[in-house]
Symmetry: C4
Subunit: 235 residues, 4 copies
Amino acid sequence: MSSSENSEALVLSSDPLHPANLIPELCRSFYHLGWVTGTGGGICIRAGDKVYIAPSGVQKERIEPTHIFVLPYPQVAPSPHTDRVFLRRPSLNLKESACTPLFWNSFEIRDAGSCIHTHSQHAVMATLLWTGPVFTISHQMIKGVRVGGTGPALSYLDTLELPIIENTPNEEDLKDSMAEAMIKYPNAAGVLVRRHGVYVWGTDWEKAKTQTECLDYLFEIGVKMKLAGLSTTLN
Amino acid sequence: MSSSENSEALVLSSDPLHPANLIPELCRSFYHLGWVTGTGGGICIRAGDKVYIAPSGVQKERIEPTHIFVLPYPQVAPSPHTDRVFLRRPSLNLKESACTPLFWNSFEIRDAGSCIHTHSQHAVMATLLWTGPVFTISHQMIKGVRVGGTGPALSYLDTLELPIIENTPNEEDLKDSMAEAMIKYPNAAGVLVRRHGVYVWGTDWEKAKTQTECLDYLFEIGVKMKLAGLSTTLN
Amino acid sequence: MSSSENSEALVLSSDPLHPANLIPELCRSFYHLGWVTGTGGGICIRAGDKVYIAPSGVQKERIEPTHIFVLPYPQVAPSPHTDRVFLRRPSLNLKESACTPLFWNSFEIRDAGSCIHTHSQHAVMATLLWTGPVFTISHQMIKGVRVGGTGPALSYLDTLELPIIENTPNEEDLKDSMAEAMIKYPNAAGVLVRRHGVYVWGTDWEKAKTQTECLDYLFEIGVKMKLAGLSTTLN
Amino acid sequence: MSSSENSEALVLSSDPLHPANLIPELCRSFYHLGWVTGTGGGICIRAGDKVYIAPSGVQKERIEPTHIFVLPYPQVAPSPHTDRVFLRRPSLNLKESACTPLFWNSFEIRDAGSCIHTHSQHAVMATLLWTGPVFTISHQMIKGVRVGGTGPALSYLDTLELPIIENTPNEEDLKDSMAEAMIKYPNAAGVLVRRHGVYVWGTDWEKAKTQTECLDYLFEIGVKMKLAGLSTTLN
């Protein structure tokens, strides 16, 4: 890595909407929603030429602004095999989120400003009950979701389709299959990972968050419908 | 619209029971109940000749008093095809709730002082398991619900009936079918919208809220009973 | 009634454990547990010769100390047909909880110091799946429950039995059948009311509350077991 | 016991991460997760030569630092038949957690720094649906769990196995069967107790807590899968 400087200024702000304040607050909220229990999951925010990322393997309801990593954007996709450039690394013994290359997919392929990863049980159950490569639902409140995550809102008359990719032991190894799925399903606002969770993005953190809520709602109601023997799409 | 004036005075008050303070607080509470996740749903309050309405398409747990719209009442039903009159519009780039014409139904047809719209999964599941035009339940704690929403309390011996209307892509287009259902079922304290949610009203915000809680409770227990093979009405 | 005096001193205290402070706090907590949504349910506390009771038909998460009724104890069971004596009635337009005669049962028959009433869906579902006069479960964590509610703790090897009485349109009319059930089942720590909820008592508010939690836990796991086809008692 | 001294200094600290501050905070959090309702369950923390333990049979969301017991470590396993040595006992009429000998198992057999006991319904349902001596799941997010609770992280490709021991009327009598199960299953990060709950440990409280969350998540999803007719292991 080219820099190990440790600028507190990049993460200390009295503005509650500063990314380094938002990420801890949102992670606490996601913890209480059951999205990120047990150190899994998280959120990243890209603001202009800076990307703010939470540490890996920590209690998500106890993150502090000083735990946040800051990376410059753009940079060559920070895959496992690439040296990542940092503007700031916490002085503690922390590692940046293992989702970093997957978050990068959302920036590079969809020009997203924020990406959320959850281990929500509704998402995981959806990947178990939809055994094929796509989760599909229609005639539900899907209009909170945008085409491709960053485009116009879906209509009640549209059918929502989300690709499901297969899990890998290392989170970072999902990078290529996630990118493929995003390209194959350009209208999808997120990518499900079988037996693992979901990645959802938006133009900013508000839209990433509200779309994650909408999608989680749809996974939940879809699973309930399937288990009740109801079809989740109308012909 | 006849007015774009921006009077802060209409929404800034140190009284926690002022509608512009209550709406943000109640929306936060509804968010944690799972009624308004992902920007859907909300509440409006009519106080005398003023109607307070939340903005559309925003995170319901983060509304501020300054985001509230104020409209004069009465005025010709503010349907999609009518210019609406405002006493106050937020200076931000916000639009008033798409539920506005539906809230107006509750004022004009039932003389309600408050109307709540939720996307609760219990309501949605009820509209999927009750495939006809009416949700029915009896011999449960229905006595928290009032006849027509603004009349005397129901008795344990009454049967609760709530009409279910079909959803439309645009929320505003539900206005006529909701009004029809309210007239056809004058005793109903709310109207369910298939695959979407429910509208519930009361003479004031407390009664609208407690009735929404009662009805949501009845949807939840009704769905549980149906899924367990139990009948939700006794003969 | 013999007294309509309105002594604030009876309910204003800086001690967080004063009954008039505890009841609002506990009702808020019960609201978030789903025990008292929509104005139903509540708790009363008897401290020496005074009984503290919440008002009827109000939002249980918004009770204030000044809303609390204080009654002298003992007095002839305050049934619907008996004039009740008060030490304090709130100046607002409030009525004491309709559960008052039922709370009195717990004082008179079990010498309880506190009684809790919930509309928990776990309790209601238990009364629907146990169609006879008794809810029974064994070999679960029942040792948090006391014999008769105020006696020694049950053992893991005991079988928990709770009578189920039939509901009536007016809460107060449950007084006699609840008393009968308490006498017929002297070891029961509570009484279930079919399609309605449960009454649980203890020697003080802490024990009433922890026993209500234990019983609600047992209703919940019992319902889950029944729905999964498992027997809730071992032979 | 060799000491009944009552040193406040052992439990009063302005450091929020002091064990006597952490235990009350974590118990409150566990209460809201449904892990320790009705006085059951809890957490202990071992810091160097001191063990901090919560009292038995109290409301877990209302513990105060002054309620905490402090014991020296090591000492002969404080079984029911052994006099326990204390550095501090609260002056109130409290008894140390009945889990004490079971917590000791985690220190002595796994060198754990913290041990958590929950009555989570997901854990209990798992012990009812897995009727044999082991709970097994694979191909889920098990990588938050460590080999033996204090070793390296499991991989997504591993199968998680947790022994299930049979319950006894007195918590302390589980000591020997828990120790046996820990020795027979050296890779297990916890021990389930049939119809009762689970014990989970880690090198420190953070790891004990995140592993308990991971395991609870796995019990929950495993139970859902079983009830949906899905296999929880892939061949």
